[in-house]
């Protein structure tokens, strides 16, 4: 093997077919309102944790849907469970239970 002084860059595309969708299926089976998000960002705008950290619940929720779950475990810990997101969601997504279910999925699926 020759050292050329650089490596072949890795892809950052969301490769939907190659991704891990177990968490997404797990959540949907326990919290059906998971599917109702329209990506409006109200939750993130009001988020207490998002005020102090880079926590973005809209995006986290979306990345789980796309099967990009490698960072979910560390990111979800930033949530403070204040529940403001639940009050503002225009689609009635049970965001609080969603967070609990995500944590549950992390445990049960050993992610």
């Amino acid at each position: 093997m020759i050292d050329f002084g650089y490596n072949i860059n890795t892809d950052r595309q969301i490769d939907y077919d190659a991704n891990d969708h177990r968490m997404s299926h797990f959540i949907l089976s326990r919290e059906p309102s998971y599917n109702l998000c329209i990506g409006c960002g109200s939750c993130t705008a009001t988020c207490s944790a998002g005020n102090f950290t880079d926590f973005n619940f809209r995006k986290l929720h979306l990345m789980i849907k796309r099967g990009e779950i490698s960072e979910v475990k560390t990111k979800i810990q930033k949530c403070m469970f204040c529940g403001k997101c639940l009050l503002v969601c225009p689609r009635g997504v049970n965001t609080r239970n969603l967070i609990l279910t995500i944590n549950c999925a992390i445990d049960e699926l050993k992610l």
Partner: protein
């Protein structure tokens, strides 16, 4: 796949290509890596097709690589382009034929800019006059050298000695065509067949007996990206782009790749070597890699030119497996000889790619 669907699109993109009297401008990259291709183009044009092709030794780079590396301002580039136009005008020609796709794209961009912003053309005329005293006419017909070979592809086939057919099986060779990004992506109507299903190389392959394969990453850039290759720190991106293409075309088991841009064949050739040395992975059969050709090389092979006159020894991925498939004779002992047949040594063998 239904080819009729593509034929409908191809019908919509038939550009005008001049018949004769061409002013030829060379390519920095083509002449550096594939000098035999430019030689073959001129030989085919002059000796096989009997065309008038003129080259003025005073023409220079169009500055394209510098321009797309953003170190050359647009005004400078437009004025250098105008100087090439002036040389063409002074020589009494109207049909400009660049060897390079970056140049072709740039000439097109400059001409289109002048159409939309006439004040830019006026400014450039003043610049050129001031710098060189020259004046110019905008080319009446601008066609890339691959457009010209496309136009005369049937004559080449008629005079050809070989076809892109597997000698043993009688089946057409499976060919991947790779079009330079700046051929039609910027101005789809300026490319034969448009930007989505360019026909310029497909037409050659079809008429020369081969079969073009359509694979998902067909339109992806080879990864040159100017600064993305020219600066060492960025080369990991460049090679990643080519790798993406190889991974995507591999399931179709292509026999060869044909290209119309000067840089792409070099990258598609060299990155196969790099991937093999970095990751131990080779594409194509028996660790040979997928041989990559310029369209001039393929035209020359069809016409029976000697593979070593065409410069196939300057490929890192060996081309012999393809020559064997078609049944083109070659003398392996002459591959690396100098101009007068002198022994100038031979390159080392790569550790992975079977040469």
């Amino acid at each position: 796949m239904k080819v009729e669907g593509k034929r409908l699109i191809w019908k919509d993109y038939q550009k005008e290509i001049a018949e004769d009297k061409f002013f030829y401008v060379r390519s920095c990259i083509r002449q550096t890596f594939f000098p035999g291709s430019e030689w073959a183009f001129l030989k085919i044009m002059k000796e096989v097709l009997g065309k008038d092709v003129y080259e003025n030794p005073a023409h220079t780079t169009c500055t394209g690589i510098g321009y797309h590396s953003d170190i050359v301002p647009f005004d400078t580039t437009m004025t250098v382009v105008a100087r090439q136009f002036a040389l063409m005008t002074e020589a009494g020609y109207q049909n400009l034929v660049p060897s390079c796709i970056t140049s072709f794209g740039l000439y097109t961009e400059v001409m289109e800019t002048w159409k939309h912003f006439p004040e830019e053309e006026k400014k450039v005329r003043d610049y050129l006059k001031k710098a060189t005293g020259r004046e110019f006419e905008v080319p009446k017909n601008l066609a890339h050298a691959s457009d010209i070979i496309y136009k005369f592809r049937k004559q080449i086939a008629a005079k050809g000695k070989y076809r892109l057919i597997n000698k043993t099986t009688g089946e057409p060779l499976k060919v991947v065509e790779h079009i330079g990004c700046h051929y039609a992506k910027m101005f789809p109507s300026k490319g034969v067949g448009g930007a989505e299903y360019p026909y310029v190389l497909t037409g050659m392959v079809e008429d020369w007996g081969g079969e073009v394969i359509d694979y998902p990453e067909r339109r992806h850039c080879c990864g040159f990206g100017f600064r993305q290759y020219l600066v060492k720190a960025n080369r990991g991106f460049s090679v990643a782009c080519s790798k993406k293409k190889f991974e995507s075309m591999a399931p179709y088991k292509p026999d060869m790749i044909i290209t119309n841009c000067p840089g792409c064949p070099m990258f598609l050739d060299r990155w196969q070597y790099v991937i093999s040395e970095m990751e131990g992975k080779t594409y194509g059969e028996d660790g040979h890699g997928i041989p990559v050709f310029t369209y001039e090389e393929v035209a020359g092979l069809i016409l029976g030119f000697d593979p070593w006159d065409l410069g196939l020894q300057l490929h890192q991925v060996p081309t012999e497996p393809l020559l064997n498939k078609i049944g083109i004779p070659y003398d392996p002992f002459k591959k690396y000889l100098g101009k007068n047949g002198e022994d100038i040594g031979i390159p080392m063998k790569p550790s992975m790619l079977n040469a």
